[in-house]
Symmetry: C2
Subunit: 339 residues, 2 copies
């Protein structure tokens, strides 16, 4: 049974187990520093589909099928699936997963979606509402650019603070610890975040908008559990990029919690910022999903990484809200994973 | 603890309690057959805001505050809030609820969102992951028209099968039965739906696209629980409208489960179809939310309605997917409420 610890944290006493995970990425991501860790790399970013949106759906579909395969499970073994993405009405999830015939619960947490889906899925398994549950998300550079910014053909200039939406998807299958006692990685705790809004209005600097949300959730978690940064091997944010990542470290330092020794960000891991011309780093639901579902969970399974706080961050704006002069509300959800 | 019954249904053995509920609607809805039951009716559909999107955010904000007030609670008493809407990136929820300072989990189930948020919130309370949880959703005719169809100024013709997006919001606060033993209404079971897609491609006939999803979830529930339509006082779909509602009754009759004696649809209850020129009836997340959070929960609280199956239905399309020639995937989630 889950137990509330402090004001915001939920301890997963039954320790739901990671049964399988997979990542699928595009060409640019496969050429990044983590290229060797992904399950599938596509050289053609259309994935052979007739639109970017259909390509993104396919990323998600491939990720969940690979994760099921690696867990030695069929779709009928999964009781519910939590999925979301950045597209209007979350169509890469609904179209990508419609053939699965698994009870479907659409989630929207912008780039925090991997943490959000994992957090809710883990609670369903912990509580016995699901024997096995799946969490999956995706993003695609081309579908995101034309929806949020400019058509690719326009060739718009990017600001130095802008992040590059990853063409990527990640999926995780969770199950009950008692049924999988030998599973290497489990979920220990979840802290769902509150919306913060510090008045940042620049949609080309989402890292700055999201850093306060990340700091708030991380401080809530440390306060609830009485732990400190040194108690973890890695605090992995996704995706603050260079600007937001530095801001988070500063904000935490001011609160007396220096995370710089153990902090890394999925947006900094997915690309080589100097060589790949991605300005402040990667972003998009698929960025943190693909990093978590490749190098991180692989290292945890192999025993070279043990205690990880995965902190998904999301900027909850839309092009309409920005055009109407609104600031950018943000949220961050935390998952404590232990090998 | 929740218990799985059959393949798809989750029994809420701890019977989470409805602590408060509220509905806020626009002018047209206040002039409909349920006008007397809403907590707040706005005569000006802008709600004094400078955009339709901001007006919709305010609907949601007012609904949650009224529900908290009626439950004699403050925002700090609620451990998490599940919310969603039809707008791109769910901005009426994120902007409408950002001031609440409650852990926020954005949901996307199109018009099934009220059932989806209620279902997940009830599981969080049932499992002890939250002492109190809130579910809220909204829609607004004017924000939906310009996003999904045409700008209002264009004056586009509507087809006879089209539904009218309700300007409305509804909110429910749930709490643990042991802490509120005298609460009149509780949640007994949840069945989350699988995505169905029968190839319907007409975005002006979403009732027809959603009816098979509603039938599938309802049949799953009857099969899992061994119950029949006659075991319930009301099977309330939201929102199939006239076309989809009739289709659902036909589909169920073919399967030997005649629901016509106990079936009603929120899209048929919210407007007077003959006098209010709404063609096939109401729709939008706020439609089923406002009907559930007014006349239905009021009648259940008063003891004149006892066993209700609330079946939220959602069409998981986007304008982009329709423009790319795609069909309309649909989903339906079921909640069993008992007074």
């Amino acid at each position: 049974m889950p137990a509330r610890v402090g004001k915001y944290t939920i301890e997963l006493q039954a320790n739901p187990a990671v049964l399988g995970f997979a990542s699928v990425v595009g060409k640019k991501e496969s050429e990044g520093p983590c290229g060797q860790y992904y399950d599938q790399c596509h050289k053609d970013t259309t994935l052979g589909e007739s639109s970017w949106e259909k390509a993104e759906s396919r990323l998600q579909n491939e990720a969940i099928h690979l994760a099921l395969h690696k867990a030695n499970l069929n779709n009928t073994d999964v009781d519910c699936i939590f999925a979301g993405d950045l597209l209007n009405q979350c169509i890469s999830s609904t179209f990508g997963l419609r053939s699965l015939d698994i009870p479907f619960l659409g989630q929207y947490g912008a780039c925090s979606t991997m943490a959000q889906t994992l957090g809710i899925a883990s609670l369903f398994v912990e509580a016995g509402a699901a024997s096995r549950a799946a969490a999956v998300t995706s993003s695609h550079f081309c579908s995101a650019e034309r929806q949020y910014r400019y058509p690719l053909e326009y060739g718009g200039q990017r600001t130095p603070t802008a992040q590059w939406t990853a063409t990527a998807a990640g999926a995780v299958i969770l199950g009950k610890r008692e049924e999988y006692p030998t599973a290497k990685v489990g979920l220990q705790a979840v802290t769902f975040g509150r919306i913060t809004d510090y008045g940042v209005k620049d949609p080309n600097n989402m890292g700055a908008a999201m850093a306060p949300a990340a700091a708030q959730t991380l401080l809530d978690y440390f306060s609830d559990t009485g732990t400190a940064p040194k108690d973890y091997d890695l605090i992995l944010t996704g995706d603050l990029g260079m600007v937001g990542g530095n801001l988070l470290e500063e904000l935490m330092k001011k609160e007396g919690k220096d995370i710089s020794a153990v902090h890394n960000d999925c947006g900094l891991m997915i690309y080589d910022l100097e060589k790949q011309d991605v300005h402040a780093g990667g972003s998009g639901c698929g960025c943190s999903a693909a990093i978590l579902c490749s190098v991180i969970l692989q290292r945890m399974t192999a025993g070279s990484l043990h205690k990880v706080l995965f902190l998904g961050t999301g900027a909850l704006l839309s092009p309409t809200s920005s055009q109407q002069g609104e600031s950018i509300p943000s949220v961050a959800h935390l998952i404590y994973l232990k090998a």
